[in-house]
Amino acid sequence: MSTKSQEKQLITLKSWDEEEFVVEESVAVKSETIKNIIEDCGLELIPLPNVDGKTLAKVIEYCTKHSTGSNDDSEDLKKFDDEFLDSKEIPVLIDIVLAANYLNIESLVEKICTKIADRIKDMSVEEVREAFKIENDFTPEEEKKIRNEHAWAFE
């Protein structure tokens, strides 16, 4: 079935807000989810209702860089990963990790989780809540229990 030509198979990915991205199949299959869709259905236009265009563009940027064939441990790739992630605010990282999780791109999920952990490391609880736009939804009794569990950490 394979031809001798070097023609690369192209796939179109479409975000929920109707943005279309044409990528090489070798890039698209970095996502296990997309890989399964292609293997099962042989589609050439794959709709991704859980990802918006802006985020999909970034995910594709990552996957493209990581399908050049070079070793995942190379200095260049590490440098790219650091710059790619360090330059993004937490809300953007969250968008990307949710997309990468849905698309099942394990290496990207791991890296973002590590970056997020690095960022929250030096933050107080209040600062984390602000950065992630999270409400404190504990009851006063629960709060008290939490503080007592490791009282030293909250004094």
Binding site: L98, I120, N136
Partner: protein, 397 residues
């Protein structure tokens, strides 16, 4: 239409993954205090945390009469307080291993205490050591009867047994839950090593390791004990009877105390040099020890021999009455590599209230200089308190 992601709804598996990337206990505790979803995506007792940077357990405050004890953190340069009635004044610690303190009192009980969780685990009591022939609470001043190796009998008081029977006690691992831990105690008077395992009700001697009593560490399933000349007895106490083999290195000369430390796949020997000062003040003679130098050697099994190390690179060592510990300085803020963080290690007597400073500090291997620990600046004239400060690894397990 803007993205409608509700950020607190990061799915539990992603939250869990993020929590496993946190390596410092304080960060993990804070993670679990953010909100309901974050809290329950990560277990109450983390099992992934690597060994934490030790805290320095400070002596009880002279002025305050509470059960709160201060623990100084190098990373955060602050003192954390834990409420610990279990370590009241009359109790002595004869070990700090995997985050558990070994507590002795003026009773035969020997127990382990985790200061973070306040969990307690009992070990066989002092009266169950092989050379202790009896215990009579009513024979005041001579409560314990003991037998020497050549068959003579003598007695010890409650205080004497508390203060000078056991030099140091170490554990193979945290005794939490169902773990199969082992404990080894170095006895002061005879230089014996005694051991017990989880569930056992008495201590037994490792006969062939007698006199290897400078320090002992647990390494790859075995206990390595060193004598004052640097020779090692390797003890396997997993079977019915202990099996001992030896690593006979050329005799090390010099040095007042020896420690063993393991780091990755290496066994290190740390030799501590002390100088003695006499302080005569108000008709009271105080003997003050001062550490002047450390030397570190790595074990080369080809020989075998100890090879001096001129640099530890990124490694940092913690020695004293605790189980000797080696960590990577770059894993922890507030801690510099190629240094030895040391505390007092004179386990023989209660010297509460005497003059002089505690013998503790940070030794720089590169230039041999000694710096004070940030919580004990030089010339703070605090005098020496008993029990002295000790390194404790904060361990939630």
């Amino acid at each position: 239409m803007s993205t409608t992601v509700d950020w607190s709804e990061l799915p539990p598996e992603l939250l869990h993954t993020i929590s496993t990337k946190l390596t410092i206990l304080l960060d993990y505790v804070r993670f679990r205090s953010v909100c309901f979803n974050w809290r329950f995506s990560a277990p109450k007792t983390p099992t992934h945390l690597p060994c934490q940077l030790p805290w320095l357990m400070l002596p009880k405050s002279r002025t305050q009469n509470t059960h709160r004890r201060g623990f100084y953190s190098l990373s955060d340069n602050k003192v954390y307080f834990l409420n610990l009635p279990e370590v009241s004044n009359r109790r002595r610690r004869c070990g700090s291993s995997h985050g558990w303190l070994v507590i002795l009192d003026e009773t035969p009980a020997v127990f382990l205490l985790n200061p973070l969780t306040r969990s307690k685990v009992h070990l066989p009591p002092l009266s169950k050591f092989p050379n202790v022939t009896g215990f009579n609470f009513y024979d005041v001043g001579r409560e314990y009867s003991l037998r020497t190796p050549n068959g003579d009998f003598y007695t010890c008081s409650l205080k004497e047994m508390r203060d000078s029977f056991i030099k140091k006690l170490i554990l193979s691992k945290s005794p939490r839950d169902e773990s199969d831990y082992m404990a080894v105690a170095i006895l002061n008077q005879t230089g014996d090593l005694a051991y017990c395992r989880k569930g056992e009700d008495c201590w037994r001697f490792i006969e062939d390791a007698q006199s290897y009593c400078e320090d002992v560490i647990y390494y790859k399933g075995l206990f390595y004990a060193v004598n004052k000349f640097g020779a090692i007895a390797v003890c396997d106490i997993r079977g019915t009877l202990p099996k001992v083999s030896y690593i006979d290195t050329p005799r090390q000369i010099g040095g007042d105390m020896q420690y063993l430390v393991n780091y990755s796949d290496e066994v290190l020997l740390v030799t501590r040099y002390l100088e003695l000062e006499f302080d005569v003040d108000h008709y009271q003679l105080d003997i003050i020890y001062n550490t002047t130098e450390f030397q570190v050697f790595r074990l080369n099994l080809n020989g075998p021999k100890w090879e001096i190390m001129t640099s530890l690179n990124d490694k940092v060592l913690f020695v004293g009455e605790n189980s000797s510990l080696a960590l990577c300085a770059s894993d922890f803020p507030g801690c510099e590599g190629n240094r030895i963080y040391y505390t007092d290690d004179y386990s023989e007597w209660n010297y509460d209230g005497v003059n002089g400073d505690h013998d503790l500090g940070v030794y720089n291997i590169e230039d041999g200089s000694i710096e004070a620990l940030p919580c004990y600046p030089r010339n703070s004239y605090s005098g020496r308190r008993w029990p002295p400060p000790i390194w404790v690894t904060p361990n939630p397990c």
